[in-house]
């Protein structure tokens, strides 16, 4: 697979939740090895889009993962290639951190098989990368919100999927760990992993390679983060209440007062 191949492609995807259509005909494609951020106002359908791409919702339309139809894929094979981190997923307090991250290895394990040496190594790497290694023996209930989020992040990374979908991965993270996460995503994309993240903080989202701008269940723009057209599209969906400026070679979003 070359660096320019398409990892995920959606064609005329409609999704209804509870009888209401929330995604109206989405056409998108995500280039392999790039990081795309999805931004948009509350209720734009960002999380639904991510869940849809993870194959967790019934849809009309077609979704392709590396040119294979997502619905036709073998469950396990799909789980190996696609990792999903949800937002506000309830996690039991009783599981130990180590065991939580090991769950990310399920797609690679045979039923009833004990974790392999590789599984142990991957879990350790993921825990080290998110700085959660030191409390691997604690249970989730003993962790703060940010620490918990780092464990769940490690769980998603332990899948070692080629496509990672993350919904608000920075929730509850303090600034140093947000920067850690940015570095980890850069490291993942340099290994040709495709990352799609939903981020409500526009400033963080602007660090991505590409931006998908959503509003009211539709994609209004998809383009590189460095592009002025993209910036105008972001400002437009947020009612021009924010402005995007360059600062020290980075893009920042500031409130327009």
């Amino acid at each position: 697979m070359t660096a320019t191949s398409v990892a995920l492609r959606l064609s005329d995807v409609h999704v209804s939740l509870g009888g209401h259509e929330v995604l109206h005909g989405i056409d998108l494609s995500f280039t392999a090895g790039r990081w795309t951020s999805v931004v948009g106002p509350n209720g734009a359908g960002k999380s639904t889009l991510l869940k849809t791409m993870a194959g967790l919702l019934p849809v009309t339309g077609r979704i392709f993962l590396f040119d294979q139809a997502l619905v036709a894929m073998d469950r396990k094979q799909r789980a190996q290639q696609l990792s999903w981190l949800g937002q506000n997923e309830s996690a039991s307090d009783d599981l130990r951190v180590w065991d939580v991250v090991m769950l990310g290895r399920i797609p690679h394990q045979d039923w009833l098989a004990a974790p392999s040496v590789k599984d142990h190594a991957v879990v350790e790497t993921a825990l080290q990368a998110t700085g959660a290694w030191h409390w691997r023996d604690r249970s989730l209930g003993q962790l703060s919100g940010g620490e918990r989020q780092r464990v769940l992040l490690a769980r998603a990374m332990a899948v070692q999927a080629q496509v990672m979908l993350m919904d608000e991965p920075l929730a509850n993270l303090d600034p140093p760990h947000q920067v850690d996460w940015l570095e980890q995503v850069r490291c993942l994309t340099s290994q040709n992993t495709t990352v799609v993240s939903v981020l409500h903080e526009v400033g963080m989202a602007l660090h991505a390679d590409d931006l998908v701008v959503m509003q009211a269940g539709r994609v209004v723009h998809q383009g590189p983060c460095a592009d002025a057209v993209t910036h105008r599209a972001v400002e437009a969906v947020f009612d021009k209440r924010i402005a995007i400026h360059a600062l020290d070679g980075q893009w920042v979003a500031v409130p327009k007062l």
Binding site: Q77, W84, G86, E89, S92, D94, L95, I106
Partner: protein, 337 residues
Amino acid sequence: MTYQGARCSARVVALGLLMLCALGIALGSAVGSTGIESWFSALHDDTAWQIVWDIRLPRSVGACAAGALLGLAGALAQGLFRNPLADPYLLGSASGASLGVAVALALFGGNPFAAEFLVRLGLTGAAFVGAVLAVLLTLVLARGVQHTLRLLLAGVIVGVVFGAVASLITLMRPDVLQGMQGFLLGSTSFIGWNACVLMLGVLLVCLVLAFALSRVLDALSLGESTALSLGLPLVPMRVALVCVLALATGTAVAQTGLVAFVGLAAPHLVRSVVKTQHNWIVLLSALMGGVLLLAADLLARLLLSPQEMPVGVLTAVLGGGYLLWLMYRSQTSRAAP
């Protein structure tokens, strides 16, 4: 590495609980109205042998097995419904069993703990059939097992309606009242070797199945969507887990009546001792349930000796107290920074 250490401690707990089970059964065979003398004279005295071998031992082994079934079912229910207050009777099996017993009593009359083998078998069968029918009805009303909340609500509805019908039967036939009450309180007094073998066999099957399916419970504890995203076939596995839950509960209820709180408390006790994956939680909860019911059975026989209390009264009082303490503790720990 330390994670190995944690797994060892699960083994240590398992070993400890096994030893407690053995101790409880040994004690159970030595306690009774004729005291420990029967134990020493059992080898040369036929009556003493009968008391130990045919009454005390099956009763103790049976209490342990029934408790284990309830503990196992409790761990499955709490994992499956991702709710720490879930108990094995949640899917309506308890009220189904009581309705079965009420119908059988009204039709044939008599005491549910009568020693006559046929009556006993009939009532046990009626309780089991009632429990299974109630669970099936719950599943039909909830239209499958996918929707957890719907399943819980359907269980509540079935429980209330079946309970009401059972009460109505009891009201219309006051002569079955005493027998019904005995069943509702739960008792280990009349477990014979047949019941023991049956319960142990079902326990073994349920344990193997639960152990094999435990990974789904682990994944479910991260949320349904996450479990799905990990490529697990949730629907068939949930169906299998609900079946194991119903089989374990139905078998225990049919033999011992509605023993309260063991299924609810055992998994909590286990989790307060050791944090581990569900395969161990399931196994340890079964052992813990066995120990709990054995201990309650011993106490029930000792407290008012030579009279005895229905074991369900004891488990209700002790379990209720424990739950209250748990509630208080979780409140204070949440209030703390």
